[in-house]
Symmetry: D2
Subunit: 127 residues, 4 copies
């Protein structure tokens, strides 16, 4: 049994985060805005803010962005914003993210066997 | 102490997932492609595939998409793809997602006090 | 001959805009930042800002956004930002947008024949 | 008078394209799906497909993508898809893209004076 086969019992646990976000929305009466369609758009908008941090950086410089004082906070904040909306979206859709990730990793392992995918961006492109 | 204040000890745990993804990339010699810049683009591309599922749906219909046989698998797969790239991106950047989320939720709680934000999309828009 | 068949001589003309943007970049010595990869990211980031304007709006309200004093300027600005990066990207890639659009519209006309596509979101979804 | 000042009479003309797209939608009874909210999502989804073409490419390789036989058609098609949705979105919103672009370029010229913005990614980042 191996995690890269997607057989692992549990790859992630976002239960507490989902509960915190559900309570946050309920307390503010924001549930009415939180349709999956709207949350998917909000998620995409946050990813846009994340891209903005990387867009003019070289690949090498992009590796240092979370360790550079001037940008570290912004990188952490944008990653968090994306994750918050993603976890909230999965909750209102009723999707178990742990199960979804295990299924997808197992599918990826079948799609990209180690011996054939090794070092090939072109194969990977086909994702 | 309250999770919505961001004081909770732990809101999420993606340790096992990060390890699985790191191993998946290492086994295939894909680490060279996994610069934060590239992963941010891949994340955004996956969000585009998620949006495609929702784009012509009404808000009401979007709520049923993960429970409808014809679309449930696609919704779960796209949510997983987004999460996989996000968690991998955080790993190569060296960002602790749990800490980042707690910081961001605490900031949101200060920015949107319950009594002033209640039911107001306009306030929320300002995120 | 019909524009919806993609046979029209010219569907759009962005020549003057491309020249203006090329000069704008050259004057500021920004050409070195304008790789297609970077411009594609900048384009996506701007689309994120556009989505932010629509994310909590109902579909009906979204139709009024460019006519509402409080949001009209923002909508126009974000549409322009997206177009500026798209036109600049096509220029550095050497792509003729008019030809590309005519080819794509002709392909869409073959893919979605009027009699079969009429009023069907599910067909359309398949784009 | 100078185009980079945004004073030019006309920077772009998408009239024929807008008419072609309006007719395409009308013929298929798709106007009911074309709310600005939906079209903004479709635009973002197409940008995701564009990003997918560039995500694992180096900046240098990205410059050749529209000239490489294996990828040229895909690049042209995705650029066209983005433009088609953008032009359609502007149409249903009632936004004059030429005017919007001239206004935005004039604002950018004020925001990034040549002498101060020259060669500085950090200034540019602030867009």
């Amino acid at each position: 049994m191996s995690t890269s086969d997607g057989d692992a019992a549990c790859l992630l646990d976002v239960t507490a985060l989902q509960a915190a976000l559900a309570r946050f929305a309920a307390e503010r009466d924001w549930e009415r805005f939180h349709s999956p369609k709207n949350l998917a758009m909000a998620l995409a908008a946050e990813v846009g803010e994340l891209l903005e941090l990387f867009q003019w950086q070289t690949e090498a410089a992009s590796s240092e962005l979370a360790r550079t004082p001037g940008s570290a906070r912004a990188v952490r904040d944008e990653l968090a914003d994306v994750l918050l909306y993603l976890v909230r979206l999965a909750d209102v859709l009723g999707v178990d993210l742990d199960e979804a990730c295990r299924t997808k990793i197992a599918a990826n392992a079948r799609k990209y066997p180690v011996e054939r995918a090794r070092g090939r961006a072109d194969k990977y492109d086909a994702i």
